[in-house]
Symmetry: C2
Subunit: 173 residues, 2 copies
Amino acid sequence: MGFWKSLFSSSDAPSAPQAMHMEGDTSRAVGDRASSRIFFSTEREIDLYELEELCDAVGWSRRPLRKVKKAIQHSFLVVSMWEQQGSHRRLIGFSRATSDHAFNATIWDVVVHPDFQSKGLGKALMKQVIKKLRSEDISNITLFADPQVVDFYRNLGFMSDPEGIKGMFWYPD
Amino acid sequence: MGFWKSLFSSSDAPSAPQAMHMEGDTSRAVGDRASSRIFFSTEREIDLYELEELCDAVGWSRRPLRKVKKAIQHSFLVVSMWEQQGSHRRLIGFSRATSDHAFNATIWDVVVHPDFQSKGLGKALMKQVIKKLRSEDISNITLFADPQVVDFYRNLGFMSDPEGIKGMFWYPD
């Protein structure tokens, strides 16, 4: 079900075009972590406390772990991002998408640990999500973006309100 | 799994508050169909050709039935609306929602047959969808609305771009 993908490491020369693209960011991303690598995974067996810690780090409100577990189980796609140093893996990014498995997907809960932000890793994470959804023949990839990340998603090829289509949220009276 | 709910009929007095609310529309909705009733269902065993006919009637582009079937199977919720006259049932409305079964749901493919529009039936259909999602403890109900139906959803309690959150769609380069 899952896949592990090494984006880059400071010791190996990147070979895939995307890894090449990330090379310039690599030195900044890994900094003094000489032997660290960044990995992506679609495995759902994520330590919920580690995920909570990641979400705490960006200031998100806590959510019941029981519901987080259920949401992960019932997401169409889960992509997590990890820093590996030796045998130690650290969860540094996360994203998931709901879908009807046919036409539409909606991306939720995109998070990158503050220590790893502004290094192109959020972009790399989203590219993994998009690539995976496209490989599953999903044509309509959507999300709801907070104002401060609209430009981030725009740079990735997302359009806001295309043809006047509005994202709407229901609120009880 | 499914439920059948009679919204109103021209012979029975409505009793639920929602049915009461619809009473004024009932005469218009059923018109000369003296013995017709409107039903809602969450059954997924919908004749795909009948659904295609409904979507044709509102001018939607045709989609491969294989994918429509898959999308229905993998939707969290499907609500269809039917007119029943004697033993004959006619599909007059449809809606479905994707979800992570925990936090978020996104409503797709809301359609009411033109013969049954402007009678409050789209509103009744959406109220069924919202009620069902709320009963499943989904707190975040979302959708993407074409410009001409933004006011329709606003009247149902949906807000566009709350706190500047933008609906975004990914387009390949």
